[in-house]
Structures are given as structure tokens and as C-alpha cells.
């Protein structure tokens, strides 16, 4: 017998009479459970109390509200049992804000713990106090913090250093007035590398939050301290130091060179973030360096570690690829022989594949283009729609970038169009998007190499009916307008759009207007009517102000001076340039400043994705 039964006992509880009881999930714990916990927390037996605390935390973990037990949990704070203490602290951090009045009761124990014989407890206490973001407790934090900053044990000191940043975040004035920030500045010279690293971390954060931005200024002495600590501290500490170094502007070429020398060994670190932080320092300092030979050497040194980042976990590969993308725009020569490294593997996550494509295009040159094309062709027959589209587009970009390859690229694109068409005939399937994508890039190839590949126009026009994506439609319409003299039925092709003009996408409408005007200027007899109609619709039926503007400009032009209109509209256009596709100079420079951060991943300046999301023109 088939068994699709739902195991009964697991899901339903039945009362004695056989009635079904429905169990609802509980967002807060039941009264009974609450009562039991309360009594256990106040039990005379140590084990029972501890078990109860664990249950409270377990409830907290699954998202139930146990804030009601605050006073009872608090009573268990004073204990020799480290595990219990940690749990109570954890509870405090979570619920302090809900019971600000009661937190005060914890202060005594905290202060006492910062005096404990065991450094682990001293550090734990100061770390936790900093995390209790309640106004009332801050005042009590200052004395213990002062003590801990001078603690003999580096574990306590490194924890206290971070605590200063916590305090500053809550109350900047208090942190400054009590001299904590100054102490932090002294701690950059601490004998212990971990303390140095945390002091730098804290200072960098405070500096960023400060209004004056003068909290953390590197000078000759601190610079040397940093360079010494760099080789001694943990991977995370190294990142902090390297990030601080990247902010520093070397006084001259010599100093830059000196620091670079100390930074370059970090390229060998196993932690990819250390490597990227090192690369960032070197790239930024290269702005100061004028010796061509040195720059050449440095560029050479950066390539292998960048390539090695691609053997990292996929998420880090992604960040690395986004950064390599930026670095390549700054230093196009850096990975010129490494294009194969970026070939896509079957098991690459899609987000990695897409980034690799971008980079392959940036690295394409006349020597590797053949191989690249055969790869791209392979990708264009894959399953992921997005990947296929971008691969087709990349083929077009190859053609635009490398003149020698343009013919081969066009042939590959034609192959794709033809094979997609045969497949569509057979299957009526969606492979059509390959054709649409191909038409979009072919339009760009036409604009790069005018009059070179016009022979294929009839093949393209055959697809006009099948296009349903605005960009592809707009592209083909542009081709029809631009080459109207070569297309016998150009006016008819455009006429077919008249009826649907109002429903078309704005970009299609814009191209229709321009194409119609071009056809009219080239073949006035055949197309007087449609140009009239199109301009009429665009100026009266359309609400879009931009479309109206365009149509009025043409209208006025045609009615004032048709000869001038010809000269204005039909003039030869310069070949398009690929440089316009990449990030603008100033933005690129800013993003290079942010290597390895989110800004470098998004390719957007930090202001654009932080805060409330507003971004004023004055900020540009």
C-alpha cells in the first residue's frame, strides 16, 4: 500500500475525548515555563541554577522573549563558574536595553570582575561592559577602563583598546575628556603586537567617526612602530596595519619605496585579505613613485598574488575579481599574459563566471583573441541565461576592442544567430535571446567599423518580428535608419511600428523617431507620411517630456531648413570608443582608495550605499 500518511503522533496531540487540540507556536514562553525557570534561577542548588540559565539562553537563541527574567538571571552573575558568568553576561548584553534601570545592579560585579586575579575575567568584564549600550552604565565604565588599559596582561590591554572605540561610539566627549583616546595613541607603541593592532583598529574607527579627522595621524615614529608590528601580529592585525598604511601619504618617493619594501613580503601571506591590503598600499604609493623601472617591477610582483586569489573560496574569488577589474582599469598591463586563468570552469558559481567574463574582455588582445573567441562561443551555448547573454555581448566587445578580430567575431555572432534560428524553428523556444543579444552588439560593431559589415543587414532584418526586448528592437531600428539607403523596404519596416508606437518602450520610441527622420531625409518621397505621423504622435500623444523635446527639435529643424537638417542628422559619426564603457577617472581613483572594501565590490562610492541613501550633487 502506498504510504503518504502523515505521521500522526508527531503533529497532533489528541485529548482524551478524541478532540483535536491545535498547537500554536509560541513567540514568548508559556507562563508555566516562565514560572519554572524563575524558581530554578532562584534555586538553592548551583547545578539547577546553571541549568536554568542555559535554558534561558536556549530560549533566547530561538528568538523567544525571556527579558522578563532579568532580575532572576542577574542574581546569578556573581559566580566562580566562568561558563555561568559568560552566559549571564551574554544575557545582559542582549536585554540591557529592555531593562536599563536594572542594569545598574550589575555594575558592582562588573567592576569587581575587572579587578579579578584572572586576566580572562578582567578582559571579559571590560569587553562586556563596553557592549552594554545603556547610558547609565557608561559613567561606571571609565575607572575600570582606565585600569585595564594599563593592565600588565596584554590580553586585557588589547581588549581594553577596543573598548575605547566602543565608548567613543556611545559618548565621544567622555572618551576624549578622560584621556582614553590619548592613551590609545600611546598604545601604538605597546610592546605587544596584538595590542598595537587593536589600538590601531580602535584609532582608525575613532578617527573616521570624529569630526576633526586628526585622531590618528601617522608620523615617523608611529610609522616605524607599525612596520615592526606588521611582521609580528596575527593576520587580522596585519590587515589593520596595512589599511592604516594605505591612508598614509608618504612624504617622498624614497619613503614610499621604503615602506613598499616592507609591505611586499605580505603578498606571500596565506590570508587573501592581507594580500589585498598589501596590494592596496603598493598601488596607492605608486602614485608617488616616478621611477619607471620600479613601477614595472612592482606591477610584475603584484600579478602572481592576484592570480593566486582565484584559488581561494568562491566568495573571496568574487571580491578579488571585482577588485582586479578596478586594478586593471588603473594598470591595464598587470595581467596581460594571464587571460587563461580567467577561463570559466564548469563548477564556478554563476557570480564568479560573470565577473570572469568582464575581466577576460579587459585582457583581450590580438594574441589571445582566437582562444578567447572559442571560449566565448562555448559559453554562449551554456544553460544560464544571464551568462549566455553576457558571453554573446563579450564577443561583440572583442570585435570593438580588437580590429583584427572583428571579422571573426561577426562570423561567430552570425553562426549563433543562424543556429538559434534553426533551433527556434524546431522548438519555438527561448533561444531567441541569443539573437537579440547579438543584434545589440552588432549595432555597436557597425558604429565602430562603419560600412564594413553592411552585407549582413538583410540577415538581421529577417529577425525584426521576433524581437521582443526593447534594447534589441531599438538596435535594429537604429540600423534600419542608419542604413536606410541600403534597405529597399526601410520605410515599410518602420511603418509596421506606427500602430504600436504608443505601447513601445521609451528607448524604442526614441530610435523610431530618429530612424524615421533619417529615412525621410534619405528617401523623402516614400516616407513623408510616416515622418509626419511619427512626429505628430510623439509631440501630442506622448507625455514623456524628453520624447517631446526630441520630436520638437526634429520638427522645427525639418520645417526651418531641410538642408541643415540633413547636415545635422545624417552627418558622419565618429567611431565609438570603448573607454567610455569603463568607470570614470575620478570615480576609479576613489574606488582604488577603497580596495577590498564593499565600495570596491559594488564599484560605487561609499556614500552612495551608506546612511539614508541620499547623495547630493555637491558630493560629486
Amino acid at each position: 500500500m502506498t504510504d503518504f500518511r502523515i505521521p500522526k503522533p508527531k503533529f497532533f496531540t489528541t485529548t482524551k475525548k478524541g478532540h483535536l487540540t491545535l498547537l500554536a507556536s509560541l513567540q514568548s514562553i508559556s507562563t508555566r515555563e516562565n514560572y519554572e525557570l524563575k524558581s530554578d534561577l532562584n534555586s538553592e542548588y548551583r547545578d539547577r541554577r546553571k541549568d536554568a540559565i542555559k535554558k534561558v539562553i536556549a530560549n533566547m537563541t530561538v528568538g523567544k522573549d525571556v527579558s522578563g527574567l532579568f532580575p532572576d538571571v542577574l542574581k546569578n552573575m556573581q559566580t566562580e563558574d566562568l561558563e555561568q558568568k559568560k552566559l549571564v553576561y551574554l544575557y545582559l548584553m542582549n536585554y540591557a536595553k529592555t531593562q536599563p534601570e536594572l542594569v545598574i545592579l550589575a555594575v558592582n560585579t562588573f567592576v569587581k570582575d575587572t579587578d579579578d586575579g584572572n586576566p580572562l575575567i578582567r578582559a571579559l568584564a571590560i569587553r562586556t561592559m563596553g557592549c552594554i549600550r545603556v547610558e547609565k552604565i557608561i559613567d561606571y565604565l571609565c575607572e575600570p577602563l582606565r585600569k585595564c588599559l594599563k593592565d600588565e596582561n596584554p590580553y586585557v590591554r588589547k581588549t581594553a583598546a577596543i573598548c575605547v572605540a566602543k565608548l567613543y561610539d556611545l559618548n565621544p566627549a567622555l572618551a576624549t575628556d578622560n584621556g582614553f583616546v590619548a592613551t590609545l595613541q600611546d598604545m601604538v607603541s605597546d610592546s605587544n603586537p596584538m595590542v598595537v593592532a587593536n589600538a590601531i583598529t580602535a584609532l582608525a574607527e575613532i578617527n573616521e567617526a570624529s569630526e576633526t579627522k586628526d585622531i590618528f595621524v601617522i608620523n615617523i615614529t608611529t610609522l616605524n612602530k607599525l612596520l615592526v608590528a606588521l611582521n609580528e601580529c596575527t593576520e587580522w592585525g596585519r590587515i589593520a596595519i596595512l589599511t592604516a598604511l594605505a591612508e598614509y601619504r608618504p612624504v617622498d618617493e624614497k619613503e614610499a619605496e621604503h615602506i613598499i619594501e616592507r609591505v611586499v613580503p605580505q603578498f606571500q601571506h596565506v590570508n587573501g585579505s592581507v594580500v589585498l591590503a598589501g596590494i592596496k598600499v603598493v598601488i596607492l604609493y605608486m602614485r608617488v613613485i616616478k621611477t619607471e623601472e620600479l613601477i614595472r617591477q612592482l606591477v610584475k610582483k603584484m600579478a602572481p598574488p592576484l592570480v593566486t586569489l582565484l584559488s581561494s573560496v568562491p566568495e573571496v574569488q568574487y571580491v578579488a575579481l571585482r577588485n582586479i577589474n578596478l586594478i586593471l582599469q588603473k594598470r591595464p598591463d598587470i595581467l596581460q599574459h594571464e587571460i587563461r586563468v580567467f577561463f570559466c570552469k564548469y563548477n564556478d558559481p554563476l557570480y564568479v563566471k560573470l565577473e570572469k567574463l568582464e575581466i577576460m574582455i579587459k585582457l583581450a588582445n590580438d594574441k589571445n583573441v582566437d582562444q578567447l573567441l572559442s571560449e566565448l562561443k562555448e559559453y554562449a551555448s551554456e544553460v544560464d541565461v544571464d551568462f549566455v547573454r553576457k558571453s554573446v555581448r563579450a564577443i561583440g566587445q572583442c570585435a570593438i576592442k580588437i580590429e583584427e578580430s572583428s571579422e571573426r567575431c561577426i562570423n561567430v555572432l552570425l553562426d549563433l544567430i543562424n543556429s538559434s534560428n534553426t533551433m527556434s524553428d524546431m522548438a519555438n523556444s527561448k533561444v531567441n535571446y541569443v539573437v537579440q543579444e547579438a543584434i545589440v552588439v552588432i549595432k555597436d560593431i557597425f558604429r565602430k567599423y562603419p560600412r564594413k559589415y553592411e552585407g549582413i543587414i538583410p540577415t538581421l532584418c529577417k529577425n525584426l518580428d521576433a524581437l521582443d526586448e526593447p534594447e534589441a528592437k531599438a538596435s535594429l531600428i537604429w540600423i534600419i535608419g542608419e542604413y536606410a539607403e541600403k534597405i529597399d523596404n526601410a520605410n515599410e519596416l518602420l511603418e509596421s511600428f506606427l500602430e504600436t508606437f504608443r505601447e513601445e518602450n521609451v528607448q524604442v520610441q526614441l530610435q523610431l523617431i530618429t530612424a524615421t527622420v533619417k529615412v525621410f531625409l534619405k528617401k523623402p518621397q516614400k516616407s513623408r507620411d510616416i515622418v509626419q505621423q511619427v512626429l505628430q504622435i510623439a509631440t501630442t500623444d506622448c507625455d514623456n517630456p524628453d520624447i517631446r523635446d526630441r520630436a520638437y527639435v526634429y520638427w522645427r529643424l525639418l520645417s526651418t531648413d531641410p538642408q541643415a537638417a540633413k547636415a545635422v542628422v545624417l552627418s558622419e559619426k565618429p567611431a565609438i570608443s570603448v573607454e567610455n564603457q569603463s568607470i570614470s577617472g575620478p570615480l576609479l581613483d576613489e574606488l582604488i582608495n577603497h580596495i577590498s572594501t564593499l565600495a570596491s565590490v559594488y564599484h560605487k562610492p561609499p556614500e552612495s550605499f551608506l546612511g539614508r541613501g541620499t547623495f547630493g550633487a555637491d558630493a560629486v
Binding site: Q268, V270, V313, Y318, Y346, S374, E378, M423, V431, V601
Partner: protein
């Protein structure tokens, strides 16, 4: 820095979380899954970092397969993972996620998240929903110790285990922070004692290969690692000598035997003094106790692919598919590859497998949608052939027959085309010719310790793309 860290299950439910900075609403995590799904919906691959309403989401996906992939032990299994991840979300064990409000260092956060899963795995053997639930106390402790105010702190499992353990609480004496936590040598504790001082060195080279469908090698690269197991007393100073070309060139000497090799990029364990290496290519270090990976290196060399595989596929649409696979060992006769496994992808819905092979064993592994051809010992210079035959589901036949007069249009999506994968191990052999020239051990107590060295070459990410199948449209009725 990170504002908060979450561990989520595959549906996006929070298993455990830690709020480090209190500057974001913890409810922001509820937006995470819908945003990821939305991205998938729009045919865009959800990326590991994205931003939404001022909050940045950085996450990694962790499951058993992922671990395997990056330890490079079982390439094919991980391939399968991607090959058939039509309902991929179901196959992710869990997500570790960090949120931040600032323009934080993305690389650091993502690596930290990986480190977190690594530490959890080393602590609990398996990182499962259950292990997280059962160990929530210790996980909270680790989260507290490994990150402070959103900045990574101590992430070395060995050191953490010295003062964060379930057992430590049972002792009456309280644990203290080990010196190593803050020392310049943050990876080794003092007072380590061994009766017998020994060091084992494994030089393992993994060959990454990518071959296109026409049989052209697109990429071949060697990733080497030197793994060590150190059982040494005290605080020993070690120095490792390799036949490193750059070192010989810089010192003007030449290698005593064999040739020197040129490493493209070297990465060291944090115990190695990087500046020293930069200066004179000396690899000097105080090792951690026990096993660790001392260094890794990369070589871009056009070596002949060690195991070469050619496939010929004949597809009789709607009835059967036939494979002819040729494998060739392209290395010297005196070497032998052990435990060779060749994975040939077949359609997901293949059935009734039949094989013909002269050597080794062949079986159909439906869970990988592949044929697995295992050859225990594959001597250099030899080549072998295997044939396989599969049936395809009868409905295809029926449908195509029906289509002939009912509906001439078949909706056919392009197929996924996974590559052939190969696993192998060749002992006593390195492709690059790397050699350990010496390992000097100096400790103030002055003991003697002998290093043991082993060499091995194995497959890394080894992919040969499948050729187009020969379509045979002859209709054969049942």
C-alpha cells in the same frame, strides 16, 4: 567591521546570532532570504555581498560539499553539486551571514566567516543544525572570543581550544588566557614536550587542468603544498631549504643535483618570517604544534596532462546513448598512478547501464549522473579503453513519436554540459621537480630530530570538457 553575525538554516531561519555593535536592527536579517530569492528570480546570480537600505549583507554558504571542494579531495562530487542544482537552495546546509552598516573590508569579513565555520567544524566535527543547537553555549563563547566590536581577534582553533572547552569548566581551577593569544608567536604555546622529536613533511602537488571539447589544453597549473606534522619540544627554530631557482640566482650558486624550480607565487603559514623570505628566500619559522600547512606555491607550466581522457559519444535520440572512453597515462613508465577514478557524465535519466572494459571496474553512479571507471594501478605509458551503453527513458521515444503528428514543436532547453573529471595519485613524484634540500631544527635544549619527507602528485581541479555527441536521429521504434 561587522555589525552582527548570523548562522542561518537553508530556509533563512536564524540558528544563532551575535550582535556586535548594536547599530543595526537585528530584524534586518529577515530581509536576507527574500532578497536572495528575488535576485535568483531575476536570473541574476545572488552575489556574496549586496546592499539594501543602508545595510550590507555579506554571506557564505557552507555545506559538506563545499569543504570537499576546497580541500580538493573529491572534485567530482562537488562538480555534481553544481551540475544538478536545479533546486539549489535545498542543497545548502546553511548560510553564515554578517551585516554591516559601514564600508567594511569585504575580504576580511568573508574570510572571517569562513574561518568561523572552520573553527566550528574543528570543534564539533560536523557543522550541522543539530551540532549548533547542541553546542550553543560554546558557540556563544567562541563568537565572543573570535570577534570584538566587529573586528576579528583570535581565530586559531588550537589556541582557542586551550581556554575554550567544555571540559575547562568542569575543572575547579580556572583557565587563563594562553600567552599565545597575544604573543608575536600567537600559534604555539610554550612548554610543549615530546619524548621523541620528529618532523614529517608531505610535498603534495595538485594538477589543475582545463581542456576544451576539441582536446586543447586551456589551462594547466600546479598547486603545491607542503604540509608538516611537528612533534617537537620547546620553541624550535626551523629552516627549510628548497631547490628554489630565485634563491640560487640571488646567491649565485647552482643546485647540487637536479634542476631548480621557479615558483610563481608562494603563500606561507603565518609562522613563516615573510621579510626574511623576501630578503634572501630563507624559509624560517617556529612551527605550530602538530599538523599544519606550511606553505603553498603555484606554477604555471605547460606539462603534458598526466592522465589524458578522450570520449566519443553517440546519442540515439529517445532510445540509447553509447560512450567510448580512452584513457592514457602520459608519464614515465617507472611511475604508477594509484586509485585512478575517471568520471564521465551521463544524462540524468539514463537507465540499464552496460559496460565493456579491459581493466579496472566500472559502475554507474546515478547520484553523480556519471560513470565511474576505477583503475587501481595505472602504469605510465599505458592506455586503456572502456565502452558504456545506457538506455534513455521510453517516454522520450513515445513523445517523439507522438510529436511526429500531434505537435511538431518540442520545447528543448539547452543541456548542461558537465566535464569529465579524473582523480589520481602518483607517489614518489612531483611534476615540478621540487625538492626539499634540508630542514634544520635548532632548539635551545639542543636535541636532534629527523625530518621525514614524502612526495606525491595528485589531481586538482581536473576537467576535460565533453565533446559534442554524435546525434543519431534514426527513429527506432520499440
Amino acid at each position: 567591521m561587522a555589525s552582527a553575525v548570523f548562522v542561518l538554516d537553508l530556509k533563512g531561519k536564524v540558528l544563532i546570532s551575535r550582535n556586535y555593535r548594536g547599530d543595526i536592527p537585528m530584524s534586518a536579517v529577515e530581509k536576507f532570504m527574500p532578497l536572495v530569492l528575488e535576485a535568483e528570480e531575476e536570473q541574476q546570480a545572488p552575489t556574496p555581498c549586496f546592499t539594501h537600505e543602508g545595510i550590507n549583507y555579506l554571506y557564505i554558504r557552507h555545506n559538506n560539499l563545499y569543504c570537499i571542494l576546497f580541500k580538493k579531495e573529491d572534485i567530482h562530487r562537488s562538480l555534481r553539486y553544481f551540475a544538478s542544482s536545479t533546486i539549489n537552495l535545498l542543497h545548502l546546509l546553511k548560510t553564515v551571514l554578517a551585516l554591516t552598516k559601514k564600508n567594511s573590508n569585504a575580504t576580511t569579513i568573508l574570510l572571517f566567516l569562513h574561518k568561523l565555520t572552520e573553527v566550528f567544524t574543528e570543534y564539533f566535527k560536523e557543522l550541522e543544525e543539530e551540532s549548533i543547537r547542541d553546542n550553543f553555549v560554546i558557540i556563544y563563547e567562541l563568537l565572543d572570543e573570535m570577534m570584538d566590536f566587529g573586528y576579528p581577534q583570535t581565530t586559531e582553533t588550537k589556541i582557542l581550544q586551550e581556554y575554550i572547552t567544555q571540559e575547562s569548566h568542569k575543572l575547579e581551577i580556572q583557565v587563563r588566557p594562553p600567552m599565545a593569544v597575544t604573543n608575536a608567536v600567537s600559534w604555539r604555546s610554550e612548554n610543549i614536550k615530546y619524548r621523541k622529536n620528529e618532523v614529517f613533511l608531505d610535498v603534495i602537488e595538485s594538477v589543475n587542468l582545463l581542456v576544451n571539447a576539441n582536446g586543447n589544453v586551456l589551462r594547466s597549473e600546479i598547486l603545491g603544498v607542503i604540509k608538516m606534522k611537528c612533534y617537537l619540544t620547546g620553541m624550535p627554530e626551523l629552516r627549510l631549504g628548497l631547490n628554489d631557482k630565485v634563491m640560487f640566482e640571488s646567491t649565485g650558486r647552482s643546485p647540487t643535483r637536479g634542476k631548480a624550480i621557479e615558483m610563481e607565487d608562494v603563500k606561507f603559514h603565518q609562522c613563516v618570517r615573510l621579510s626574511r623570505f623576501e630578503n634572501d628566500r630563507t624559509i624560517s619559522f617556529i612551527p605550530p604544534d602538530g599538523g599544519f600547512e606550511l606553505m603553498s606555491y603555484r606554477l604555471n607550466t605547460q606539462v603534458k596532462p598526466l592522465i589524458w581522457v578522450e570520449a566519443q559519444v553517440e546519442n540515439y535520440t529517445g532510445s540509447r546513448i553509447e560512450y567510448t572512453i580512452k584513457a592514457k597515462a602520459q608519464f614515465k613508465r617507472r611511475s604508477t598512478a594509484n586509485n585512478v577514478e575517471i568520471y564521465v557524465p551521463v544524462p540524468d535519466d539514463a537507465d540499464t547501464p552496460k559496460f565493456g572494459n579491459s581493466i579496472g571496474s566500472v559502475h554507474y553512479a546515478p547520484e553523480k549522473s556519471a560513470i565511474v571507471w576505477k583503475i587501481k594501478q595505472f602504469q605510465g605509458g599505458k592506455d586503456f579503453t572502456m565502452r558504456a551503453h545506457f538506455g534513455l527513458p521510453s517516454h522520450c521515444l513515445l513523445i517523439s513519436r507522438l510529436h511526429a503528428y500531434i505537435c511538431p514543436k518540442i520545447v528543448e532547453d539547452p543541456e548542461k554540459k558537465p566535464p569529465i573529471g579524473v582523480k589520481f595519485e602518483i607517489p614518489y613524484f612531483t611534476t615540478s621537480g621540487i625538492q626539499v634540500r634540508y630542514l634544520k631544527i635548532v632548539e635551545k635544549s639542543g636535541y636532534q630530530a629527523l625530518p621525514w619527507v614524502r612526495y606525491i602528485t595528485q589531481n586538482g581541479d581536473y576537467q576535460l570538457r565533453m565533446p559534442e555527441s554524435i546525434k543519431n536521429n534514426k527513429m527506432s521504434f520499440i
